[in-house]
């Protein structure tokens, strides 16, 4: 089969960016859309053109690296699927696909379909963890966990942090992501001691990052490759409201959002010289 890919090309943040049309022939219907981009990139390299930059890692739908908009839907038209798992047989022969990066102020573009999602890392750093003593491994069943709680925590823990919720949200809100982490850790007894603190800090960081606010529209859960339910957002609201009420010490800190790359990084991008 053959497809027309209309891809967002933008060399760096200083560049304005534009859509460029590419014809890709010899598309195997069983290849994923990322493999289709690989084929296109090989052709572009042969023609001495700049290949399309897109993020990917495991290519089996569990790492959360890949993701872009296909015809206006995050991760494409197939529900519960990341783009790396989206095979070309789901599109018609000769179809035209519009590929666009996630768009949000908190996800500044790096290049083409790649965006900087470190805002998610900072939300996790604000409270998406449990504090434990290090040392020898604890006895496996020392803390009883109800089966139902373990299941619910596991469902929330399925979040891979791909950012599709932000991309699909008309408000560009990461509530589903943050809610998933808060629900995942707060449902388990190991996460209970830091439940209030976690919600307050993660919400404060989420606000500092310049995301929009959740208005309970529900676009996020529709595109989520892991089908995280809206329930986790209610869980976040619950923990945040009660945590704010119970809070006594008023020591909440947030990390300043930064979108530049430090010097010495192998990802160093010179905004002026890159072409």
């Amino acid at each position: 089969m053959r497809v027309t890919l209309k891809i967002w090309r933008q060399t760096n943040r200083a560049d304005k960016g534009r859509f460029v049309k590419y014809q890709v022939g010899d598309v195997n219907p069983d290849m994923s859309i990322l493999e289709c981009l690989d084929v296109l990139n090989e052709q572009l390299i042969e023609r001495d053109e700049e290949p399309v930059a897109f993020e990917h890692d495991c290519r089996e739908g569990i790492c959360g690296s890949c993701g872009f908009m296909i015809n206006g839907v995050a991760h494409g038209p197939l529900p519960a699927t990341t783009v790396c798992q989206l095979t070309m047989r789901h599109f018609k022969d000769g179809a035209e696909l519009l590929l666009e990066p996630w768009r949000a102020r908190a996800f500044p573009i790096i290049k083409d379909l790649t965006v900087d999602r470190r805002s998610f890392d900072r939300i996790i750093a604000a409270g998406g963890y449990i504090s434990v003593s290090t040392g020898s491994a604890p006895d496996g069943n020392a803390i009883p966990v109800p089966k139902e709680a373990a299941d619910r925590a596991m469902d929330a823990a399925a979040c891979i942090g791909c950012g599709a919720c932000v991309a699909a949200c008309p408000n560009a809100s990461p509530a589903l992501f943050t809610g998933a982490k808060i629900a995942h850790l707060g449902t388990l007894p190991q996460g209970a001691p830091e439940r209030d603190r976690r919600a307050i800090h993660m919400v404060a960081q989420m606000t500092a990052e310049g995301f929009g606010g959740c208005t309970n529209i529900g676009e996020c859960t529709g595109v989520c490759p892991k089908e995280i339910p809206l329930e986790v957002i209610a869980r976040m609201n619950h923990d945040f409201i009660w945590g704010s009420w119970r809070e006594r010490d008023n020591v909440v800190t947030t990390m300043r959002p930064f979108t530049e790359w430090s010097t010495g990084s192998k990802f160093q991008i010179n905004e002026q010289e890159t072409d």
């Binding site: 908009m69 008309p170 560009a172 309970n216 529900g218 595109v223 409201i241 800190t253 947030t254 530049e260």
Partner: protein
């Protein structure tokens, strides 16, 4: 290239009201107060079908104790102000949160009512202002003289004008849409969502929104069709 210190911590975090979650909680509580008013108001209004004596007596009853009347009014005004303030703040954040828009973005799982809250809200506000000028203050009274205390006459005279009725019906449809999303969304905002109960809540929200909306619409329709005169 490092323009900011990596890992710098600021002690200026978003507190309850500054966070979007806190604002939504405030919107939920104030929205619930306004929902109670809207339910009480439609039940009171439907007494128009029991004739002028009943409706005018109800009007006098509401104004019998000015202290209570103004206490209720102040609660409602504060709720309206907070509800709008929070929504403006959220809308501003929304506009800033995506500086470069999509060339194409499809909706996959959201309801029409939920996506149009930012439209239905301001239009309902415009309607409420008109409505207060029309039937409470009596400043704008198309279709005849405004008679202080004769509620029944004022309602029938006002709704005899076709565009007053049309504007009223249109606004009440929007109230229905606003409530259809708002009634279940307020529970989500204060942290209640349950896989078994929330689907029932959403259905109840639809039924309640329809009932309230149709209850209000029945009055101008009854005037226009001559059922009450």
């Amino acid at each position: 290239m490092a323009t900011t210190v990596v890992g710098a911590r600021e002690i200026q975090p978003a507190r309850f009201w500054a966070s979007t979650n806190g604002k939504k909680a405030v919107m939920a509580v104030t929205g619930f107060i306004l929902l109670l008013f809207v339910i009480g108001h439609v039940l009171g209004n439907l007494q128009v079908f029991e004739g002028p004596a009943q409706l005018n007596a109800y009007g006098r009853y509401l104004r019998a104790v000015p202290e209570i009347l103004w206490a209720v009014r102040i609660v409602l005004i504060v709720s309206v102000v907070l509800h709008i303030w929070a929504s403006i703040a959220l809308a501003t954040r929304k506009m800033q949160a995506r500086p470069v828009g999509y060339a194409n973005r499809e909706n996959v799982s959201s309801s029409y009512a939920s996506r149009t809250m930012y439209w239905s809200g301001p239009i309902i506000l415009a309607f409420v202002i008109y409505h207060l000028l029309h039937l409470t203050a009596g400043v704008v009274h198309p279709g005849g003289q405004f008679i202080e205390g004769d509620v029944y006459h004022n309602v029938v005279a006002g709704f005899s004008v076709w565009w007053v009725s049309a504007w009223y019906i249109f606004s009440m449809i929007l109230v229905g849409f606003h409530l259809r999303h708002g009634i279940w969304s307020m529970f989500q905002s204060i942290g209640f969502n349950h896989p078994r109960h929330t689907p029932i809540l959403k259905k109840a929200a639809l039924v309640l929104a329809l009932a309230i909306s149709l209850g209000y619409i029945s009055i101008p329709v009854a005037v226009m069709t001559g059922l009450i005169k």
